[in-house]
Amino acid sequence: MAHYVIIGAGECGTRAAFGLREKGFGDEVTLIGSEPVAPYERPPLSKAGLAGALQPKFIAAPERYAESSIHLRTDATAINLDVRNKIVTLADGAIIAYDKLLLATGARARPFPGMPESSACIRSLRTHHDAMALHHMLKPGRHIAIIGGGFIGLEVAATARKLGADVTVLEGLERILKRGVPEVIADAVCARHRVEGVRIRCGVSIESLNEADEKAVITLAAGDVVEADLVLVGIGARPNVELAEKAGIAIENGIAVNAQLQTSALDVFAAGDCCSFPLDIYSGIRVRLESWRNAQEQGNLAAANMLGTGEAVSAVPWFWSDQYDMTLQIAGLAEGAVTHLRRDLGDGAFILFHLDETGRLIAASGIGPGNAVARDIRLAEMLIAARACPDPAALTTSHVKLKSLLAA
């Protein structure tokens, strides 16, 4: 009987485990997760989960693992991988032999240089445990300083304001959401935060981060000091590659995989936040994506490829963020765009279409209340996947349905 083992019980690994069953694999499946709880959805942690839902939102009801004959091992950490003998060793000494292995080890929060490893008032946000610790500190009258004006930092800023806390966001670059979000959309997000009372300071350089008398103290290079009851460090994530690296697997901005998610080791696959992969629709550029949708899709794809289907990654990158009543969605990668066309959808919602020098649609970014931009972004994603060169006038004319362009 074959034994397929998945290391990492986040969205990607869990999807892969169920994917194996859905695709008809009848032999043994083991899913190894380092956290003490059953696999849960991570996106709510900075949004609704932080605001009030104290229970994790499980990816699957805990009883479904046994029903699907998936051996879920929680609170279990893989500490060694022997790819020659196909053996995984866990921290508790258990030895697990595999026939095929999936590394879905995810990523962890990048620490601020010099940040204490354990602190009540200086924290990161990556796990349910982190979210619960933060939740208890976001209260009226508390001052929260957030280092990093990316998605996590800004989502927490919005949630913290909702819970009545006083919020300052410190961003080192000249604007928030510098990575992957067009300036005009970042400006809209920034304006909304300011209306809600968040202080956003960009272009600040932090000299030191310390705690003293149960307060966090941030000293800026310019000389001034920001004191806060809590500092959240949200400056990105690092892929968890150590296990693979120690096993001699090729690393390149994450665990390097080919388009079928195979690593450099025989019968070892990697998927989700931990891996970098070539993206055919963007001329094979190697990317690593930290997104919920990517984790889901690659989990499914890894399951298929572990079963020998040989399918290549074809999905268009897709990201979203919720802040206040606004949703921001981005499909595709806008680097390389030379033309940016705007479609207004009413109620302040708009979409930017990003075209390359040949007129090909390579990305679309939108923001608006509720889900105002969702349908058009989804259609844009399909146009991107189809490598379409849509008529610019049709893109900017809001009463022209994007669906009609798919058939063109």
Partner: protein, 104 residues
Amino acid sequence: MSGNWIEVCATGDIDEEDVMRFDHHGKTFAVYRSPDDEFFATDGLCTHEHIHLADGLVMDEIIECPKHNGRFNYKTGEAKGAPVCVNLNTYPVKVEGGTVFISI
């Protein structure tokens, strides 16, 4: 109308292969028009995170949730894979005199 048929809208209010939100007595429904001019109705909220399905995309008999891309067959309510695993309820629909009614 008599019985439990509830008037929703004129047939022309929903485009072909599109969806419309319909609220009635505190409950939300999604009403669909297929490419061959048939009408269907399901619960209006995604079973994953209670997002309004009427903001989603209808294509090839599928309604796709606008938030997390959960997919359902709008004719049967069947969930079509993660992240959704709970089906939608469906409701009878009829068209009379150019008006769409659903039975709740």
